[in-house]
Symmetry: C2
Subunit: 281 residues, 2 copies
């Protein structure tokens, strides 16, 4: 039996998806998306402590995060969860998925639940799919690097690959887009564009092709907003590579792309690891 | 097409296997092992530069490392590879597998080969299996953390899980054991013990059960040497957890287990990430 602890903390990288196709399924563990993105050193820190009543604190206030509440219920984990992040929420960085995955890892440790990593990733993925707030962030955030989602779903169903590279990433978030609204609409056009982008990236799994495939996806899927389009064009004109984070009104760029184009952007890097438990021993 | 570079460097964590079962197959990508181990922040740094003649430098001297030469040949990569590590070679830390995986990642980047991470992991795994020097280190080192190898083989055949924990790890290497000698002998007894250990760990995927299952494996597989057995008993008597690294005459312990028992041990931690390319941009 696993030991219980007084408190446990997990870090989960942010994840900016560049393109995706949606793959619904009756079994939420098999549902998900194909696509690719970058995981980020800017991420989400989740702390769990045993509590009498399950609750979630985000930005210092008790709040509702469906994916987190779903995963704690699935694990039968009565804990207080504190979610801290510098990433903007609703801007395409997978904060809800990260919070769910971090809550699963931290709750498992603090209560000594004795689940494996795959079981915790699966629980968080199912919670996120059932909340309708994401389809592929959790499995990408569990992997780290530059994840390519070849087959949808949680372990053992999903299949991941990666682009073997690392880079500085800049980003600029303009506003929210609702993942739930887009995913509940007609996703055929989007998914066709996502499959075409994945074919291009599998042929040449490099960061440069990831960025160009992502730009084409945003245009073909008709998700590009005028403000995002203008910033991407400015970055390209300055010799950089930029794309739109799905699903947020957010631009991300390789290296110093946004800075070079005169924007005041946040900077981080691709994250080498997936979600991890923090320990002192 | 991927860009080529003047030089590329990859870091691959060490990997101490605690227990395993051997699973030969005609297709080396499907051959491998089930089992579990810890990846280590002490690892192998591999640098590749374009060269007229393929060669490998280890510890400052040109040398032969079959797994590295195999993988470079498979990738048709004519590069000079420099392998640097503080880990002892032949002591059960997967240095040959790490060197092969690091060579694949670095050669891919320096020559702009445009392979995916799975393709590079598969090439390194096949090279290691064909060299006869390992069966499961490469896929574990590509994953990081505390990898549990549920199904043998490289992507997309193998299946991994993980123990969701992290820890300080101490180790003490006494001498060499030849992986090739053990793997070329009768592995039935060893594999039965390995399958029993995996069943125990899947039931309770924690570091504590990993260590106790590993100790039982070493004894039941009759791989325990008298010197290793004595040190493990000393660590246990001092209240710690220790096991034998497969396949080397090496003891590894959780936390300060070896130090507490009075040994002068090396110290590192479980490595949160798998093998990674190092970049400056």
């Amino acid at each position: 039996m696993a030991d219980a602890h007084e408190q446990a903390t997990a870090f989960v990288p942010g994840h900016a998806t560049g393109f995706f196709s949606a793959h619904p399924a009756d079994d939420p563990a098999r549902a998900g998306s194909r696509g690719a993105g970058v995981t980020l050193t800017d991420g989400v820190t989740v702390t769990a402590t045993p509590a009498d009543v399950r609750h979630v604190v985000l930005g210092g206030r008790t709040t509702h995060v469906d994916a987190v509440e779903n995963v704690l219920a699935a694990l039968d984990a009565t804990v207080a969860v504190t979610v801290e992040t510098d990433l903007p929420v609703g801007a395409g960085f997978g904060v809800s998925g990260a919070a769910a995955l971090g809550a699963a890892l931290a709750a498992n440790r603090v209560l000594g639940l004795g689940r494996s990593e795959n079981a915790l990733v699966r629980a968080a993925h199912v919670a996120e799919v059932e909340a309708g707030t994401g389809l592929g962030d959790v499995v990408a955030q569990a992997r780290g690097g530059v994840p390519v989602r070849l087959e949808p779903g949680a372990p053992p169903y999903g299949l991941l690959d990666g682009v073997p590279d690392a880079a500085r990433i800049e980003y600029l978030a303009l506003g929210d887009l609702s993942t739930a609204d887009v995913l509940s609409g007609d996703t055929d056009r989007l998914s066709n564009a996502g499959e075409a982008a994945l074919t291009a990236l599998r042929r040449d799994p490099t960061l440069s092709t990831f960025m160009s495939a992502s730009r084409r996806f945003a245009r073909d899927a008709e998700l590009l907003t005028p403000a995002v389009e203008e910033i991407i064009e400015d970055v390209m004109a300055a010799g950089g590579e930029a794309a739109m984070a799905m699903l947020g009104e957010t631009v991300f760029a390789l290296g110093t792309g946004l800075t070079d184009a005169g924007y005041d952007a946040n900077a981080c890097r691709t994250h080498p690891a997936g979600a991890t438990i923090r320990t002192d021993d």
